[in-house]
Subunit: 363 residues, 2 copies
């Protein structure tokens, strides 16, 4: 397959016109050609490592065939890699998710456990009944190789032991749903924790006499997940985060719940009822309960909110996430990488998606 006369956007080499030759599953050759005009933009397929659900299919209940369906539906939004993401649940429920995900393959690169080792004070839409301290025994059971990422609160008892254990298993630890303040962040960062879950939601606030999780995430060299829906944080918050952090430290996610891609109405998240109105998902308490964001919309929003370059957009929408979680051979338009590619028009609408060299979506 040869894709011709496109604007190629690589997170490392930048933006240039040219052709791309694909052979079998991989990019065989990227050929810069000085075209005067182009109609399409070619970027690495999007990577979403924090997504709970899509169109009614939910990580907590999905069977093998549901996960496969989800992976196929995701191509419409340009997503060629994702981690289904759990919420706080019993060990039995988590093990059941793990079992259902076995041998799914497709564009699912792993599993993200969001909770249950978080802080009740910052539970957001997580069910407090399942929130608990980590133990090495439980971690041994619930972190087989498919688990690549776990969002935890560093103030939980046994956090350090858990962290050390998870390092040996190469599971990435991300701070999320936490009341911790400056001192705990400082300590966690010193111990190698450098990633924040859906910044700045469910973190302690920024104040000038305690900079909190929000300020500490900005002060230290943390990477931060961002939900660019304009609801979880306003556009100018994202603009400021981009200004401070730069493109290398931002990872776009959807944090999508089951109403993503569906109409307003009644849904659930982790066993809790959720009302979606005008695309905003809330618990009865008013807490925001995940998003209904679709990844490509988040990409367009981020561009609009920050006025970033396309190269930076490629970093935040694919490359950074993959490198951060040690997922190899994706996230670049470069010889030898998997041919996971999204073709977009100049307004960044998805026209075509290619997954491992095969066209899997065509508008």
């Amino acid at each position: 397959m040869r894709i011709e006369k496109v604007l190629i956007v690589d997170p490392i080499k930048g933006e240039f016109t040219g052709d791309v030759i694909i052979e079998n599953e991989r990019i065989k050759e990227v050929i810069p050609v000085d075209y005067e005009k182009y109609e399409q933009i070619l970027m690495p397929g999007f990577v979403d490592y924090h997504t709970h659900s899509l169109k009614g299919i939910d990580t907590m209940h999905a069977k093998k065939e549901d996960f496969e369906k989800w992976a196929n539906m995701n191509f419409e939004y340009g997503v060629t890699s994702f981690f289904p993401t759990t919420v706080s649940a019993s060990k039995t429920q988590i093990l059941s998710v793990i079992k259902n995900l076995e041998n799914v393959g497709e564009s699912i690169d792993g599993l993200h456990l969001e909770g249950p080792f978080i802080n009740e004070e910052k539970k957001g839409a997580q069910n407090p009944a399942y929130i608990r301290n980590p133990t090495i025994e439980e971690l041994e059971e619930i972190t087989p190789e498919m688990v690549k990422l776990i969002s935890m609160a560093p103030e939980r008892q046994n956090f350090k032991e858990a962290l050390n254990y998870l390092k040996t298993k190469k599971v990435r630890v991300s701070i999320g749903h936490s009341s911790a303040g400056y001192e705990i962040y400082k300590d966690a960062f010193k111990n190698g924790v450098d990633r924040i879950t859906h910044f700045p939601n469910a973190l302690s606030a920024f104040h000038h006499r305690e900079i909190g999780g929000t300020g500490s995430a900005l002060l230290f060299d943390f990477k931060v997940e961002i939900i660019a829906d304009g609801i979880h944080s306003v556009p100018e918050f994202i603009e400021l985060t981009y200004k401070i952090k730069g493109a290398d430290k931002i990872i776009l996610i959807t944090d999508s719940m089951e109403a993503a891609g569906l109409e307003d109405g009644q849904y659930e998240l982790g066993g809790l009822p959720v009302t979606v109105k005008e695309g905003v998902a809330r618990l009865k308490s008013g807490s925001i309960a995940g998003s209904t964001l679709l990844f490509d919309k988040g990409v367009r929003n981020f561009k609009k909110f920050t006025n970033c370059t396309l190269q930076d957009l490629a970093k935040v929408s694919s490359y950074n996430a993959a490198v951060d979680c040690g997922i190899k051979d994706i996230g670049r338009i470069e010889n030898g990488y998997y041919a996971n590619i999204v073709l977009l028009d100049k307004d960044l609408n998805v026209l075509k998606t290619i997954f491992k060299g095969k066209e899997v979506y065509n508008k």
Copy 2:
């Protein structure tokens, strides 16, 4: 006068060893010499454009001789330029301060009016009885040439008219004691306002769904006054501000009240009783009421909090303030500038102060 074998710190040219020749009131020549060792650091004399009082002498009540005494006492702390600063008061009181300051000269470069055109909701230690909207009529009376700077809330009625009028008179406008949020800051910045008073105190808070005055000051290219006492904001807040803004956008101030340089006890600020305990000044309500910070201590703190270079320290402690308010020929160690100089030991303690070529303090 020739000062020899010192480390010269100029905000523009940086740090180098050498000698400085002073003739009459000015620096005649800066001579770089490659000395292997030095014992003293030579910096531009400190500039404090937000200080209410020192050792019981208060801007609101001081007579001509009090202001002169204040200027002389300030040399001990390395301060060779300052603006006495008012608080919200009646027009009569403000006019009386202006009258008492006439022909004082010395190291007093002008007057800073903090209030009365501020927001009651963010009054801090200002007396609400005197807070009001600006009018051109009042501004005409209370801004003779000596008034160089006025701290105002941009959400006040007539703010834009006042701003336009003050621009014609070359009075700098600084946002302070304000409840305004993102939209008002955006608008103010577009209209040429680019300075913030004692950031982030008495501004609206930073939140991810309204970034407030605190977030807007960081997002837009505002210069910010900082009280580096570790009380008005914690060291890590100042570290983060330095990381985001850089040295070019920070202006150190003391915001000192009359207990500065004195013991703990009972004092007042703008007619309100203030208790100073362990160096922290508070109203009955618990609100912080100015600082007891001495400028040289703030300089040492800023260095400690941020680990900045001495060049950056020279920017934040003199040069930026002077340039910002259009005060000429001070803030640099450079041929032709006024010989306003502070000599420090390696721990940044003041050893000697020179004002317009004359030694005015010697430890």
